[in-house]
Amino acid sequence: MSMLAARVFDQTRSQDGQPVSRRPIPAGESGLPRLLPPAAQLAAADPRRSLDFTAHLARHGLPRFRGAALIEQAGSAGLTGRGGAAFPVAIKLAAVAGAGRSAIVVGNAAEGEPASSKDAALLWFSPHLVLDGLQAAAEAVGARTAYLCLHAAGRQSGPDLAAHMRAALASRSAAGTGRTGVELVEAPPRFLAGEETALVAMINGGAARPRDKTRRVSERGVEGRPTLVQNVETLADLALIARHGAAWFRSVGTADEPGSMLCTVRDPGGRVRIVETALGTPLHRLVWLGDDVQALLVGGYHGGWLAASSARQLSLSNADLRPAGAMIGAGVLVALPAAYCGLAETARVARSLALESAGQCGPCFNGLPAIAAALAAIAEPRPARQELANLMRWAGLVAGRGACHHPDGTLRFVASALDVFAGEIAEHSRSRCTAMRSDQFLPLQAAALAESDWR
């Protein structure tokens, strides 16, 4: 791999045949946006322009840190996984590198969360940063094979991200970098297909369902080899840390949660934007939180609701959000307008999350539908008195009893709704609902689900 990487980064020439120089980063320059083109360009950008590998190198320069030095920089940078769990990247890299066997790297863009589209945006506009990161990670852990897992578009037709990524690989190939070792895979459009054990199972030829975690994929994953699974945004961050180092990465963000991240922001008008921002940024600077907004969903459908009044006081950091019952997750922010019923919105999503159970663990596939049905009853006027008590009992039974985080993530989401929309629960018990609109605000999985969709 190191030979390959050396060819990638050292022999590339700009169009006039001169070696591409490292782009110097002046001290203190945070460089935001780091991963995406500036917002003004993004609005009018043609994603096909992102395919030009020479232009990519002209903007970002060449890497300085590789292998063990890169792992060390990632550790000093405090880089954590941007797929939702915020696990320290250097620990994963070191675990796989230290496993002592030929490893596998998996770039994860199987963005199953319906409210998130930042991974797709990143691949459309900065494919080469992700591929740089994939290569750098492969080199650091001693992997000869890398996979890039995309989210299959399902039955929707639209621009073909897989074709876009194939073109990006071809562009690197033409620049003398070779596309050796990167295999594109499409994960089924299921909520849990991007879970790391599910991806590994799929690449191994099985269904994309989460697996038992008594054996970590860092020890035994794809083909039984030590496997590194990282979100594509994490890989893009790694590619920039390889160029500019840990101190640069830390020049934005907070001391405990350094760096920047991509957020999928849905404003109260329903418009969706991808925002690249420093961690620690006040939430009200990222999304409109005026009087017409009643609550903010942070972290997606395994995250939590915040009342708008508390969201206005908090920033985009787990230090702020966790005590309030939410978490950054993969950076989903949804501002719910006052005109909608938060209970009805949550109930619809809870039902879809129950349907998204992989159907493997009894407490999950029995408990989540029961919880969703109780919540649907609570979302109607005058629910029977026992519905809330039933929901609480089932929640107690389901917590902590799944092989993956789906039941617990779903419970966190439902629990936050009961908390934040407590006033609305009281209204419903008096047969009133304050909502003006009954259409659906939170996005749901588009296609109907079938058993075959797991492959």
Partner: protein, 100 residues
């Protein structure tokens, strides 16, 4: 502290709710309303129940039970993780709030 405690663990994917374990080891295992096992406390097996625990493990039709040894000082609950990407963080996730 090099002492170890022995705990029961359920593989929730393998478990299909036969309920044999709860019959053999009612002191530590009850069934939820769907027929799936709920372990008492953190699943620690006292020495006087070790024989019954081993019997429950070998007699489980789905081979979904196992014993693990954990240092006595560690109190994290092995079965619950916040997410697949943080395999080393013990403790209860955000769902704990609802679980009480």
């Amino acid at each position: 502290m090099s002492e170890e405690t022995t705990r029961l663990q359920v593989n929730p994917i393998a478990c299909s709710g036969h309920g044999v374990c709860a019959e053999l080891l009612p002191e530590l295992i009850t069934l939820d309303e769907w027929g799936y096992p709920v372990l008492a406390g953190d699943g620690t097996v006292p020495l006087w129940l070790m024989r019954e625990a081993r019997r429950a493990i070998t007699d489980c039709p789905a081979l979904a039970l196992r014993l693990t040894s954990v240092p006595a000082v560690a109190s994290g609950r092995g079965g619950l993780r916040e997410s697949s990407e943080e395999p080393q963080r013990p403790g209860r996730a955000g769902a704990a709030k609802l679980g009480t």
